[in-house]
Amino acid sequence: MEQSLIYLRRSGTTEDVEAELWDDISDLHLDQWKSTWVPLMERAEARLRASGLPKARWPQDFHWEWDKKTDWSRNLLTLQRFAITCGGALQGLMMLNLTKLTARLPSQKGKDLAYVEFLATAPWNRPDIAGVQQFTGVGRNMMRAAIEVSRNEGFHGRVGLHALSQADTFYKDACGMSNLGSDADYYGLSYFEMTAAQADKFCH
């Protein structure tokens, strides 16, 4: 497993700290997910349940089981996994699929792309769970990784994903991706796609 030096920002400041991007999800990362993310997610879920907020408005990835996803994907060439750590703590996880979908935008229709199967940041980086974010930048770094994988695979930086409903703004405004609208085959989630030109702009 290889690691790359990246940076995360302490939210609410301009202080950028060194962090690590790993090109796989290790057992240690999964242990950290289980011991640090899961209890916070469960507590957040209990709070939401008590508050009476309709379930439709709860964070949509409460029950993602990264251990099962990772175990299942380990022997499959089409799935690639990434983790971000900072200060010894797990800050983000992502899984890419290189054969899931082909591009839908008319300008690149039918072309291969890197599809983001799953992307999540730690609960303490999420405003909807923690109220404040500890670190910002997991999304920017993970999207950069997805683009670089796409380029390495000869897909020219093309990336596709279905954004969880609270995340549309990030993919549209912070990543500059094209929103192709609600996808009925994916529970109505918005489908976003990045062209080679958009990838170049994002990475510039």
Binding site: L77, T78, T99, G110, D112, E153, F155
Partner: protein, 70 residues
């Protein structure tokens, strides 16, 4: 990036033509087409070994045809 190894691939004219057409159509080089094919083949084989069936669905009619791998 993982270290890569090189091999020689012997293809018939028809196979090479198909490979070149796919590479052109998909905007990929020939190596990537082969790698994508391997990924898909492995994924399909994996599902079949789990006892699943793989279907191709007609988007309009929703008719499904089972994908057979011998």
């Amino acid at each position: 990036m993982a270290e890569k190894r090189t091999m020689t691939l012997n293809l018939t004219d028809a196979e090479m033509t198909a490979l070149e057409e796919l590479a052109l159509k998909k905007d990929l080089n020939k190596t990537v087409v082969i790698r994508q094919a391997l990924r898909l083949y492995q994924m399909v084989d994996n599902r079949l070994r789990e006892g699943k069936k793989v279907f191709i669905e007609d988007e309009m009619t929703k008719a499904k045809a089972e994908l057979m791998l011998l």
